[in-house]
């Protein structure tokens, strides 16, 4: 998995590609911890993300909890497979998917 990071004033955009699974999820967690800073808006670009496992979901949930307090978090470019995972797990109700 690769993570492409973009900072626009108080908006942090993370574009993910590949697989967000047990192996790669800790990597994303580290990036969020270090890059978020004072950003009030966190945006995930999932256009090139192939799939997500429960480890990935855990990171997203943690990020959502943080952003609920600081501002807002959005996810864009979610593909069918990942959307199904979000459906199955009820994450569609928690996350802001655009």
């Amino acid at each position: 998995m690769t993570i492409k990071q973009t900072n626009e004033s108080e908006k942090l955009t993370l574009a993910l590609s590949g697989r967000l699974d047990t192996v790669t999820a800790p990597e994303l967690e580290t990036v969020i911890d270090t890059a978020l800073g004072g950003a009030t808006e966190l945006c995930f670009d999932f256009t090139d993300l192939e799939y997500i496992s429960s480890a990935g979901l855990r990171v997203l949930l943690k990020a959502q909890k943080i952003m609920n307090a600081k501002g807002k978090m959005t996810i864009t470019g979610v593909n069918e497979t990942i959307m199904e995972v979000f459906d199955i797990t009820g994450f569609v109700d928690i996350l802001t998917i655009e």
């Binding site: 047990t22 799939y51 997500i52 199955i88 928690i94």
Partner: protein, 943 residues
């Protein structure tokens, strides 16, 4: 006499041998040098004293004993050491000096003998120290030194008795030759005997050194020639001087006697002449008859009256009338009476001018009024008058000490009184004077009382005056001179010889020896040695030349070394670049780790390692050690490495690789080198490792969750060792987590400063103490431990290690792995491998991925399993996934589903994975069998 002396001479040799044996065989040899010298000095001092006694010497009268005393200190000094010589000399000398006061030894040579004995000790000491390098000299030197010391002894006798040279000479004449010979023989024999006993180990050999031998020989020849020439010249000169001296001494005595006889005879004749003159003047008768009567009265033969013209005018012998006195030499002498200068004149008895067959003695007195009266008579007439006087003239006359003078008549009967021989004919005493052969006043040889005598004679007034002197006495001064000058010359030449020898030794030989010593160090490789002989200009220049040559050589060598170093460094780079040196070598291959390192003892080494992927799922790795070190080993190593790699890449089995590599390496292996090698080919899909070993150290293998231990199989013979060998293959099934540690004998044979080996046990023990078994740290830690063990000792052999670890085994349908830190990657790889094989929609493959990920991460994170395995199969568009692990029993089907309707703040994260898998699979089946959790999933591939 000679026999006694020779026997005495041998005493010194006997004493020397006894001391020598005592030194070798008894405790005497172990005492200190100082004590030893003192004891030896005392022993030889006693020997010198003993030699002085009448037991060991030969009495030559006056209680003086001819002996070989001086030889003892010489032997002590020359054979055993300078201090011993000095001590022996002093003891011997003191004994000689003191004993003379008690009459034990002769008083006459007391001082001379004492001094020369002491001198002998000092001379021996000085020669040994300065001429012979504190070693004992060759026997010829001993002989020479012994003789020369006696020359000194003889000179001492002269010098200490300068006021009585005659007695001194008497001693010297008798003693000199036998004492020189005996002392020389004594010292020479002692040195020779000891040299023979000691096999001549430390003797200074005559001519051991070539230069000194040449110098010695020529110096000796020159000195002998010079000695002979000067001695001969001295002898001749002194003989000549002695002869002249003797001649003069005898002649003076004879002349005195002669003069006395002459005076007596002249006085007698002139008395008669004056009486005749008185009678002649008183008488008026001047006739011939009157003159004849006067002649008869006074018993003379002739009376002549000569006028003032020198003409005989009156005579008792008529035929002389008118004879001119000036006409003959003899008669002319009387003319002095005419000129008024003489009143009277007497002539010696001699032939007359008128008739030379008649001998007369004439006398004349001047007449008043001119002319003179001459009277002549013959021997028989005047001898009667003077005989009584003449007989007494030689009385109390001596020539020299034992020479004498006699007066004989014309028949050689001794007439002079005052000797025991008066009345004897001279010839009957043995003194035969050959007047025809020897003129008056010339030296003739004769004998008297059986001894050679020298004599001279004169004839005066009818008497023979003969003086003789003993030849010995006559030639005494010559002999003393010749002896003295010969002795002095011997001394001077000996000193000259020693001095030249010493100078040559000091200025040339010693310096040459030093130069040679330095040169031999240099030729033995020590280029830091400098030659520093600065005694004289020539050697200083030689030293400088040698030093600058060595410096130049050193510079060239260091330049060459630098060049070789640079080339070796370059070779080292080539060698290291030939070995894989980037780690990790395959960053994308998670299923195994490999690490290798090589530390060469020299710049380049004979060890090598290698590894390469033969295909996507096969890795080959090897370690090898070429016999020898350095460049040759490095070159052979490159060859071996290339051949093995070529063969491996052609797809051969590991044993065939070695078999063929051996064949190729045996070709043209004239240098007789060989390689030990261990090689493995690992099938990463099955974990089967095929191993071949060509005489190499066995691998140390750690099984997953086990300990490092030797995996010893029978090894084949070394590569390149023998043609036509076939190698065997051993297969080892590896499991995930297994580790293999390979090394060359530089590891186990690393040596500490006490020559202790690092060894196999220490290696295995150390490996098992390592907490971090990462391939790289294993090698590094072992190397560090070896360095600790070796300390400051130098590294003799190359140290090479290879460490290989298999993390998981990923077959086509199966993944074996250890649920650990890196297992997720393996699982993720395996999931991608499955999905890439399935020709399904991305949505389906994502679900498969999620399912594998979720179950595997559960096993990895929670099961505490040691091994796990994922396998799959496809049947009728269904994917069957099977998960097995040996962790704690856990049935995922019993897990409660999470509440997915809660808000983000309320959501719990656990159980979500299993829940997702449940939703995505057609069926899940769990069982716990054989201590294993077995979970089977079925997923539809076509929905």
């Amino acid at each position: 006499m000679v026999f006694t002396l020779i026997l005495t001479a041998l005493y010194n040799a006997i004493l020397a041998v006894l001391i020598y044996i005592a030194e070798k065989k008894t405790a005497f040899g172990r005492i200190g040098r100082k004590k030893k010298q003192i004891i030896i000095g005392i022993l030889f001092g006693a020997m010198a004293a003993f030699a002085s006694t009448s037991i060991a010497g030969v009495d030559i009268g006056d209680g003086t004993i001819m002996n070989v005393r001086d030889a003892a200190p010489l032997c002590a000094g020359l054979i055993f050491g300078a201090p011993a010589g000095i001590i022996a000399g002093i003891i011997g000398g003191l004994y000689r000096y003191i004993s003379a006061f008690f009459g034990l030894t002769g008083a006459y040579t007391q001082l001379a003998c004492s001094i020369s004995t002491m001198l002998a000790g000092f001379i021996a000491a000085a020669l040994r120290k300065f001429m012979f390098d504190d070693k004992k000299p060759g026997w010829i030197y001993g002989l020479g030194i012994g003789m020369i010391c006696e020359v000194i002894h003889m000179l001492m006798i002269f010098f200490t008795n300068a006021n009585d040279p005659s007695t001194a000479f008497g001693f010297v004449k008798v003693c000199s030759l036998p004492m020189m010979l005996c002392n020389g023989f004594s010292v020479g024999a002692a040195v020779l005997v000891i040299s023979l006993l000691g096999k001549d180990r430390d003797a200074v050999q005559f001519g051991k050194r070539h230069i000194s031998r040449t110098f010695q020989t020529w110096l000796f020849i020159c000195i002998v020639v010079a000695y002979v020439l000067t001695s001969t010249y001295t002898y001749m000169l002194q003989s000549q001087m002695s002869n002249t001296e003797t001649e003069t001494v005898i002649k003076t005595s004879i002349d005195d006697v002669n003069q006395d006889i002459q005076d007596t005879s002249d006085e007698n004749l002139l008395n008669k002449t004056n009486l005749i003159k008185s009678d002649y003047i008183a008488s008026n008768n001047k006739s011939e008859e009157f003159l004849q009567s006067l002649a008869d009265k006074y018993n003379v033969a002739e009376i002549h009256i000569i006028d003032d013209n020198g003409i005989i005018v009156n005579t008792n012998v008529p035929h002389y009338i008118g004879f001119d006195m000036a006409s003959g030499e003899q008669s002319a002498e009387f003319l002095v009476l005419l000129d008024g200068t003489h009143k009277s004149f007497a002539q010696e008895y001699r032939p007359q001018s008128y008739d030379s067959s008649v001998a007369y003695k004439y006398g004349g007195v001047a007449l008043q009024g001119g002319g003179f009266l001459q009277v002549g008579y013959d021997a028989s007439e005047f001898r009667a008058d003077i005989d009584s006087t003449v007989k007494k003239i030689a009385t109390n006359r001596h020539i020299g000490e034992n020479g004498f003078i006699v007066i004989c008549d014309e028949e050689w009967n001794i007439v002079s009184e005052g000797t025991d021989y008066t009345g004897y004919n001279l010839a009957s005493l043995g003194i035969w004077v050959d007047t025809e052969k020897y003129a008056e006043n010339t030296i003739f040889s004769t004998e008297f009382n059986g001894k050679p005598y020298l004599g001279e004679y004169e004839f005066a007034e009818g008497y023979y005056i003969v003086g003789v002197i003993g030849e010995e006495e006559a030639l005494f001064m010559r002999d003393v001179s010749v002896y003295l000058s010969s002795f002095m010359e011997v001394l001077i030449f000996a000193a000259l010889f020693a001095l030249v020898y010493f100078l040559i030794k000091k200025l040339i030989i010693d310096n040459l020896t030093e130069v040679n010593r330095a040169l031999s160090k240099i030729t033995n490789g020590n280029l830091d040695v400098t030659v520093d002989v600065r005694d004289n200009e020539e050697f200083a220049s030689l030293s400088d030349d040698i030093n600058s040559t060595v410096d130049t050589l050193k510079r060239y060598i260091s330049e060459a070394e630098a060049r070789i170093d640079a080339e070796l460094e370059f070779a080292k780079q080539i060698q290291s670049s030939a070995l894989p040196s980037v780690f990790p070598p395959y960053p994308n291959r998670r299923e195994f780790d490999i690490y290798a390192q090589m530390d060469t003892a020299k710049e380049v080494g004979g060890d090598f390692y290698d590894f390469y992927m033969l295909d996507d799922s096969t890795i080959a790795f090897l370690i090898a050690d070429v016999s020898g070190k350095g460049i040759p080993a490095a070159m052979f190593m490159m060859k071996a490495k290339t051949i093995i790699k070529d063969l491996a890449e052609s797809g051969l089995e590991v044993n065939d690789i070695f078999t063929q590599a051996n064949a190729k390496l045996c070709e043209n292996n004239d240098a007789g080198m060989f390689v030990t090698a261990w090689m493995a080919i690992v099938d990463l899909k099955t974990g089967v490792m095929s191993v071949a070993n060509a005489g190499h150290n066995p691998p140390v293998i750690k099984r997953a969750n086990g300990e490092f231990a030797y995996e010893k199989q029978r090894a084949g013979f070394v590569l390149a060792g023998m043609e036509g060998l076939k190698y065997r293959k051993t297969e080892i099934q590896l499991s995930p987590g297994d580790q293999i540690y390979l090394y060359t004998d530089g590891v186990t044979e690393a040596t500490d400063k006490d020559d202790g080996l690092y060894g196999e046990d220490r290696l295995v023990d150390f490996l098992n103490t390592l907490a971090d078994t990462d391939v790289k740290s294993i090698c590094e830690e072992v190397k560090r431990d070896i360095d600790r063990f070796v300390g400051d000792a130098p590294q003799f052999d190359d140290i090479t290690m290879v460490s290989f670890k298999i993390n998981f085994i990923k077959g086509d349908n199966k993944l074996s792995f250890i649920p650990g830190r890196d297992a997720g990657v393996a699982v993720s790889d395996f999931a991608q491998q499955i999905t890439s094989k399935l020709d399904v929609l991305p949505k389906i493959s994502s679900k498969v991925s999620i399912a594998i990920d979720e179950i595997a991460s559960n096993i990895i994170n929670y099961s505490k399993a040691k091994t796990a395995e994922i396998s799959y199969s496809i049947e009728n568009d269904k994917l069957n996934l099977t998960f097995e692990d040996d962790g704690q029993p856990y049935n995922p089907l019993e897990t409660e589903d999470p509440d997915i309707t809660l808000s983000a703040e309320e959501r719990q994260i656990g159980g979500l994975g299993i829940f997702m898998v449940k939703k995505m699979t057609e069926s899940m089946d769990y069982k716990y069998e054989n201590n294993k959790n077995i979970l089977k999933l079925v997923m539809a591939l076509n929905s």
